[in-house]
Amino acid sequence: MSESLSKVPNGMRYYFGAEARLRRYVEDTAMAVFDGWSYEEIITPSVDYHALFEFGMGHREAERAFRFTDTDGKMLALRPDVTSSVARAAATLLARRARPLRLCYTGLVFRQQPPTHAQWRRESEQLGCEQIGSAQGSADIEMLVIAVEVLKRLGLNDRFSITLNDVNIFNGVAERLALDPLARDRMRQLIDIRDMAELRRFLAPHDREAQAGAFARLVERPGKSELLEEARRLITNTRSTEALDRLERLWSVVETLALADQFEIDLGDLSGLDYYTGLTFKIYVEGIGTRAGGGGRYDHLTANFGRSEPAIGFVLDLDALTDALSRSSSFAPAQESERATERLSGDDHGALFVRALEHRANGARVIVDDRGTE
């Protein structure tokens, strides 16, 4: 075969054997948990208009989509994200359904990646949940609890950490500083890479009330409830304070559920999609250098489709989870199942398959051995 036909494009790959079984196991585990919380599966189109993702994810993220043109000249994309499409369905096809809508999915997403990037896959699988139509704090908690249950059922009990933030804390401070969009973006970027020295220098000229300098201290590193208390003392604007109230209520539930060891407050977590409007969270699992998932509240996304309503969702990155599990020595389910297999052979193909069908009817696994036949 010629070289060009043998070669697999960068960032694309096969999965088979133990790896494929592990992927199916993780998928089944997550989907069973989603079902257990009454989330209904939705399957979205693999190809959609690029404009959908531009609205949904923001221009910068959507630029990474694989794009091509439809017969009428409109720009299409292989979906780089599932949430945008779910939000559209909620506002259109499912507009008359009772709220809240609880939807879940497992789906491949496609993103262009520089080949040197650590998340080198250009095709990856997302497991996700969306709850649309509820602004309640209980929806926020439900998302976190579902994510935790999936991780625990996968056997990652003490090996994960989830960070919580609310985008309004940053937005409130940026508003108060009256930053123009460019400066605001710069501030966000400096916080995102935790360049504290540069952040302080950048904020110094804006800092009339010393609120900005205090904010630099808060975003430096993650913490627990004491970080919220400190934030309370240092931040006074209404928008941020309301967000802190919500986070505090959420944190007290986290403590009630005895999950405080697995959770952190991280006010410096500002990376990710532009569509988040409230709570955001990121999921980290030991053994892998990249995030294993994340989510948050996106109350304005569905407005793009003519029906504004509150919504929250999260995704788990199947590839990250399987990486973490396959590196863990204690993990067994990837082994080929021990189920007995009936090995059948014979020259009389009619009789051979009659026997095979009998075994199958009894639920046995068969393998038709063609050695010794003919």
């Binding site: 650590a118 890479i193 935790r194 020295a197 250098g289």
Partner: protein, 212 residues
Amino acid sequence: MSELTIALAKGRLQTATLEHLERVGIRVAEGALASRRLWVEDREGRYRFIFVKPVDVPVYVEHGIADCGVAGRDVLLESEADLLQPLDLQIGRCRIVVASHKSELLSNGFGILRVATKYPRITAEYFGSRGIPVEIIELAGSVELAPVLGLSDCIVDLVETGRTLDENGLRVSEVIFESTARLVVNRASFQLKAAAVGQLIKALELCAKEEA
């Protein structure tokens, strides 16, 4: 097992980084560096250091093979790796410059500038943002030779003392940015090994302040 793996750049930055660590009490065993081993532990066994090419530091850290690393800003900007950069260590100070032996850069008469460099991304970004069309000639080393022999009109390169430029008859025509070494941290390690990473940042921070 050591708490943190730290990737250090071999060459220009290596000595400065190790001295810097020593000032905050992190010492590698004597003799360990003389050998050809590519990783060593500190005396207390808390840190494991791996020695890699400067451009590979962000790669090891982004993949989480190393939790932290020390790399020049030049390397970080060129790699575009998704890393946390909590600390400017104020060591390994140098400049990324445009240098040529002509006084007027756009004088080849074709309106396109040929630039030889080890930094194709930084070069494209710098000239691109100024609307100057460039043809980038990517080289792995001895970049100063390119304009002398006519391979390019100018170079974009790292300059410490300026001696190599002088000796090849080149002059700095524009400074693109100043570069110093940064502590970089993997995003997952920052969360999952928060205590150890926090301690390292605090210790290095005090030292960096003195340096500045």
